[in-house]
Amino acid sequence: MDPGLVARFAAIVGARNCLAEPPALVTYECDGLTSMRARPGVVVLPASTGEVAAVVRLAREAGVAIVPRGAGTGLSGGALPVAGCVVVGLARMRRILEADLANGWARVEAGVANLDVSKHLAAAGAYYAPDPSSQRVCTIGGNVAENSGGAHCLKYGFTVNHVLGARVVLADGSVVDLGGPVADPAGFDLLAAFVGSEGTLGIVTEVVLRVLRKPEATRTLFATFPSCAEAGETVSAIIASGIVPAAIEMMDTLAIAAARAATGLDWPEVGAALLVDVDGTVGEAGHTAARAGEIARGSGALEVRWPRDEAERQLMWKGRKSAFAAVGRISPSYLVQDGVIPRSEIARALGEVARLAREAGLRVANVFHAGDGNLHPLVLYDARVPGEERKAEELAGEILRMCVRLGGSITGEHGVGADKVVYMGEMFSEDDLATMDLVRSAFDPERLFNPGKVLPAPRLCGERPWPSRVRPVEAADPAGPA
């Protein structure tokens, strides 16, 4: 980037918080989707809404694209830079500004880590419900951009159900408050459109969060099954019984093995396992947990275990949460997919996944949010074997197409980002996408924010702003991608 322009950005945020040297920029070339990379022109780390607004005004004046970034944990390339853009990192804005627990809300800066909100409120018996698995590091601002979910959204909903208001810097550099702590603000529900817009409509700098009182009791059960068919049937039967569990997580043989290897848990070698949380008052949680256990047994469970104490409960959840990373112990490389199917189709979908995997000659581990049909197939491969990564990507793509065929979605929580733009047309018609684009242009007519994400570029413009699928090894070239 032109040094004169860099200096002007530095004048806004301070030289220390303005990165333009290649070694410093490398960190920002990708987010959690490391297979796609591009070098930004400059990275700025503003400390206030005013600084964000000044950065946006300058970028607009200079005609430079703006890519907002939280902690960079996203898995769809939502924070992937556009070559030469300005990346606006919110990491320095991490104050919890206000907590009004009696009225059930808190106001925080966008760079606050998700889990830090709940930690801050824990002593008062309150918490922030959405719990994406990266919650130790991922930011509230990033959660708003992605409409993040987590294991417990089955009962409690997603970010959109827990965000009451947002302070947003718009493309013209103006600052606007959408929503707020008081119910039913007048006018269109622009906040609903903003949440999940993946950084394409503006930059969120402050968020008013709904804060819940912790449930009185949480009960957990772990059940094992001969195969995913019985586990899937159990999920359907629990839901059909009228129970609304806080979470139902499912793991298949490979995922159980990975979790066992990572944590030393004495989980058996079985076809599938479910980890179920129910919560509520002591009476409600006890009753529903017992009933869920009976249903699991009636649906063919090999074994139903109850944690003896909170420590064992935490260990079970640690096993579930570590299953992702633990897959690294049983395979040199893997891809994480995120697709949704109607939950009644779990057994059929997993059968399809297994068939597709066999055809591709690859292994797939499944560890996912079964209660809402949110699959997370982990496609295992070896990047050292020529052609295998491409095969893995093709398989992951076929799994998404299957989700759409079954009436589901191409993403349940990771977002469309840069990664899945090409699949949007399989789920939505051109009219659907054009209508979404009208919403985008109402906020950002010049397409300054995060261009190329979420919505496919108009067909005539054709190319994506990134070289397709730049490999990490290529991006290590000091010249960077063109």
Binding site: D100, A102, N103, G104, C153, F158, N161, L170, V176, D177, G180, P181, V182, A183, D184, P185, A186, G187, F188, D189, L190, A192, R213, K214, P215, I239, A240, S241, G242, G280, T281, G283, E284, H287, T288, R291, V340, R343, S344, H369, D372, G373, G408, S409, G412, E413, H414, V416, M424, F428, D431, D432, T435, M436, L438, V439, S441, A442, V454, L455
Partner: protein, 422 residues
């Protein structure tokens, strides 16, 4: 292809006194699109009408060239019990949907007044809700997909049929409370909830504003999880708290609340089914009154005091204003039945009308001062003429106008009805 049913407008089709030139009654999404295209071609401004229960919300449209009635869009397109979702055409009355769902042990967790008339599309457009909002939120929290017809007649779909889905912008939620000014809602897809096995209601009576807030706050602190918390009357308040779920758990919650209330010395009664139905009838009668209907909102901690003050202010201009609200959410409604609203200016400009308008304005001040709001949902003509239905323009008005211009560039959809004159 069948042509959309069309006829001349009549007196009974009037929207706040404006008789439309044409009335369309589409029976398919494609016919709805055809109707909107016809209106576009003939330069007719469109008001979409479902059950007609909330047509008084907001401003009077600056023109009503055509009314599109959604009543013939009356099919439950799909109900997938195992997935707990339903795809429903906009004109299906809520009761008809609930009757389809109940044999499967399911419901849409939405209980506004007029369930027999209010349509699912209208409930989304008008953001309709009832006591269950306490636990389940509004249609915003229940809606997972929608098909809409844009002002240019293009049909667009957003969301999907699965609850967990973040693909694309959230067009469905953008429709919530849009009052037909961003597009015609043609179909909606909802997530459903299980019908509870048991329900128990506890009635506390004679609460002053402090007592009401203490009780509402106490529910949260005690980790009780009511489905509905309804305040009726405003001086003093009655508070009906309903627990739903599995039998023994519900009874335990009921008993804990009753014990806590008695310890505080509050008048407290555990209601039987007839008693609970009686409370529901009282609630519905207050909510349904449409001589005057004001929706008020404030933070829950401010809400009881503001409601009590407002009740006195409104009582000075209107005879016996009723109040029904949801204090744990901080939203409620002041109403006066139709015929009696005539006492305060039903018959045109008069001293009583001026007094009524002043009372509404003073009530709005009470709420706006606290960061809250007051929206006129129904009012006598003379009061409506003297009071802005929306109050303070929203902070994001410019952005809202920008959105309106993109989706309805010729301003054909309910022009002037929404906040800020949109």
């Amino acid at each position: 292809m069948s042509a959309v049913a069309r006829r001349e407008g009549r007196g009974g089709d009037a929207v706040l006194g404006l008789v439309p030139r044409a009335v369309f009654e589409p029976s398919t999404v494609e016919e709805a699109a055809e109707a909107i295209r016809a209106c576009d071609a003939e330069e007719l401004c469109v008001t979409v009408v479902g059950g007609g229960t909330d047509l008084g919300i907001g401003g009077r449209p600056s023109a009503v060239g055509a009314v599109v009635r959604t009543g013939r869009l009356d099919r439950v397109v799909e109900h997938a019990p195992a997935d707990q979702i339903a795809v429903v055409e906009a004109g299906v009355p809520l009761v008809a949907l609930q009757e389809r769902l109940a044999p499967h042990g399911q419901r849409l967790a939405l209980d506004p007044p007029f369930p027999g008339r209010a349509t699912v599309g209208g409930l989304v457009a008008a953001n309709g809700f009832g006591p269950l909002r306490t636990r389940y939120g509004t249609t915003r929290d229940l809606l997972i997909g929608a098909t809409l017809v844009r002002a240019d007649g293009v049909v667009a779909r957003g969301g999907g049929k699965v609850v967990k889905n973040v693909a694309g912008f959230d067009l469905p939620r953008l429709m919530v409370g849009s009052l037909g000014s961003l597009g015609l809602i043609a179909t909606v897809t909802f997530r459903l909830h299980p019908l509870p096995e048991a329900a128990e209601t506890v009635l506390l009576s004679g609460l002053d504003p402090e007592g009401l807030w203490r009780t509402v706050r106490g529910l949260r602190e005690a980790q009780l999880e009511p489905s509905a918390v309804v305040a009726l009357g405003a001086g003093p308040f009655d508070l009906a708290v309903t627990f739903e779920g599995f039998g023994p758990a519900v009874e335990a919650q009921r008993d804990r609340l009753a014990a806590a209330a008695r310890k505080e010395g509050a008048a407290c009664e555990v209601l039987d089914a007839a008693g609970a139905a009686g409370i529901r009838e009282r609630h519905d009668a207050i909510r349904a009154a449409d001589g005057l209907r004001l929706k008020v909102a404030a933070l829950p901690s401010h809400f009881p005091g503001a409601v009590a003050d407002a009740s006195r202010v409104l009582g000075s201009a209107f005879r016996g204003p009723g109040f029904a609200g949801y204090p744990s959410v901080g939203v409620g409604f002041f109403t006066v039945p139709g015929p009696r609203a005539g006492d305060a200016g039903g018959g045109g400009p008069s001293a009583a009308a001026a007094e009524g308008a002043r009372a509404v304005a003073r009530t709005r001040e009470l709420f706006e001062r606290l960061g809250g709001s007051l929206v006129v949902q129904a009012a006598p003509e003379a009061v409506r003429a003297a009071v802005d239905p929306w109050g303070e323009p929203p902070a994001a008005l410019a952005l809202m106008k920008s959105l309106k211009e993109r989706l309805d560039p010729r301003g054909r959809l309910a022009p002037g009805r929404h906040a800020g004159g949109i």
